[in-house]
């Protein structure tokens, strides 16, 4: 600082005079009020909102990948009952999911940053946010290898007990980073060549999908080390691959679906991947319809119902949004309903509670639709939630808590 200050004596004097006058005015603040007027508004103190300690059943996280501004990914937290935005987390380049801890009190957010925004030194970290204050807390460094893709849930899952975080890396070598959540500590990186996506099938077990159409088991030790387990036969043909966006229909079982609309139930039995059932989403009268979108399926455990975004279309339409939601009884492999949508949706999710809400969003719309799962009817629309919505993550808690 080497320049002479501009003379501000006059302004300074004026300010001091004003202070003096203000002190006098302060002694009679209501003097000017007439009896008929309401009292003067009170001076306010700016506050910062704090939320409840844990997620409520109809709170939901939504990913905005911000496709045109991918360094500025956001996770929005919305109250679907009130139709309000509760808060937001800025989650850097190629934002994927928030990892909601089982108690609903904390989210761990894997994120990628560059020292110069879009270039420079890359750092990948997991940052912990308490639901109460949504402020960045502890941070764990992980290898700068997080997969950069259109987000899907099981690219970055937690173990069911919230003990470990698993991060799918693609460089293009395929590996998994493991973080010890309670210890806030990186455990290690484990190669999973030829396979990706981690679908949890037990407390320390998951299933991966492999390029050759098989499934492979991953086993975790109590200290977070991963070893590769058994591989299935080829379950999916190259002409009709399975999406990496299945739903979990039992603790050790998933419903996969192919681009053409085959439902393939598979799980782990005696530590081996096992095919359980194959059936058709089209059924007998659905020819020409396919599942599609960014998050095409949702499963409601309590009712055993599956909700699928379906559209009319042929091959290569796997990203097309659904114009209807088809509802299935998974145990019986039958369709229960076709719910036409007022506008297409590319993501669908459902809350976990007994009186669930169905959530849909269309990539590019910046709007979350809250729907009645029985009819598909819109209960409310919540607009202005980012732009390019992908993954919808309802609360893991089915019961309201204080």
């Amino acid at each position: 600082m080497s320049a002479q200050p501009k003379s501000g004596r006059d302004l300074h004097r004026a300010a001091l005079a004003a202070l003096h006058g203000a002190a006098m005015a302060l002694a009679h603040p209501a003097a000017a009020d007439t009896p008929t007027r309401p009292p003067v508004l009170q001076p306010e103190t700016l506050s910062v909102v704090e939320l409840k300690d844990r997620m409520q059943p109809h709170w939901v996280w939504i990913n905005d990948i911000s496709f045109n501004h991918m360094s500025d990914g956001r996770a929005y937290l919305v109250d679907a009952d009130a139709g309000t935005m509760l808060g937001m987390i800025s989650a850097g380049n190629g934002h994927g999911v928030v990892q909601i801890l089982p108690d609903g009190k904390t989210v761990a957010v894997p994120a990628t940053f560059y020292s110069r925004g879009m270039r420079g030194k890359r750092e990948d970290v997991i940052t912990f946010y308490a639901i109460r204050d949504l402020a960045p807390g502890a941070e764990v460094s992980i290898p700068p290898k997080r997969i950069q893709t259109i987000p899907f849930l099981n690219a970055e899952p937690l173990t069911d007990d919230g003990r470990f975080s698993l991060i799918y890396n693609f460089t293009p070598e395929q590996t998994i980073s493991v973080v010890d959540i309670p210890a806030r500590k990186f455990v290690g990186e484990f190669a999973t060549p030829g396979c990706g996506a981690m679908h949890m099938t037990g407390p320390r077990q998951f299933m991966m999908q492999c390029a050759d159409g098989s499934l492979q088991v991953g086993q975790m030790s109590e200290d977070g080390q991963i070893t590769l387990g058994a591989t299935s036969a080829t379950l999916f043909r190259p002409e009709d691959p399975a999406s990496e966006r299945p739903v979990r229909i039992a603790p050790a079982r998933y419903l996969f679906f192919t681009y053409a609309g085959e439902a393939v139930e598979a799980g782990v039995k005696a530590d081996r991947p096992a095919l359980i059932a194959r059936w058709s989403l089209q059924g007998t009268d659905g020819a020409g319809w396919r599942p599609g979108g960014t998050q095409p399926m949702a499963y409601h455990t309590a009712s055993g119902r599956l909700y699928v975004l379906m559209h009319k279309g042929g091959p290569n339409t796997q990203k097309e949004p659904g114009s209807e939601i088809w509802v299935y009884d998974v145990a019986k492999h039958i369709r229960l309903a076709r719910l036409p949508l007022d506008h297409p949706a590319s993501s669908v999710a459902i809350s976990a509670d007994a009186a669930p809400l169905l959530y849909t969003a269309l990539f590019g719309s910046g709007m979350l639709d809250v729907r009645d799962p029985a009819s598909g009817r819109v209960i409310r629309k919540i607009a202005g939630i980012g732009s390019d919505l992908t993954v919808i993550q309802p609360s893991p808690l089915a019961e309201a808590t204080p």
Partner: protein, 178 residues
């Protein structure tokens, strides 16, 4: 300078003085402000936020009417940005995890319920990307950036620990302007 302007500056200065007396935790900011005063700018006219208080979004006062998630709401007469009331906060609360700007610009708006003009402090909430909801631009009384104490073109997050990321704007009643 004409008379109404002097009144406005009087009121702002008064409110600043009250803030200072009430809130010793802002001492470090006032230390900085002191230094700034020495070099003779309009710094003392910039308002200061008080200590953070409530948990839920602060409610409106009984003598107010209207929709604080609408650009037309009376307090927003000078605003330019996203309404915190649409972002998890309220007209006088920042959304969770954001940091209020300790300094900001002020405007004067008239409350249609009581007919009085009030000095409004347009503190920004900072440290997260743009909220993106309820973007409003009304600009009453806003001045160019070289007149900062009444400019809404500046990113007032500059005074926070969180950094310059602008999330949304509040409209806090500081006191009557008349």
């Amino acid at each position: 300078m004409n008379r109404p302007d002097m009144n406005r500056i009087d009121r702002i200065t008064e409110i600043m003085a009250r803030s200072a007396a009430r809130n010793s935790s802002r001492r470090s900011f006032f230390g900085r402000l002191g230094a700034w005063l020495t070099v003779g700018t309009v710094a003392p006219l910039l308002p200061v936020s008080r200590a953070y208080a409530a948990k839920g979004p602060q409610a409106l006062q009984p003598q107010e009417q209207g929709d604080p998630t609408s650009c037309d709401y009376w307090r927003y007469c000078g605003i330019d940005g996203f309404l915190c009331a649409c972002c998890g906060g309220s007209a006088s609360s920042c959304p969770p995890g954001t940091e209020p700007s300790p300094i900001t610009w002020v405007g004067t708006c008239r409350n249609p319920v009581d007919g009085r003009a009030y000095i409004i402090s347009y503190n920004d909430c900072c440290g997260k990307a743009a909220c993106g909801r309820c973007q409003c631009g009304r600009d009453e009384g806003a001045t160019p950036t070289y007149q900062p104490s009444t400019s809404n073109d500046l990113d007032w997050c500059l005074g926070t620990q969180a950094g310059i990321a602008y999330h949304c704007s509040t409209s806090v009643v500081l006191g009557p302007a008349d």
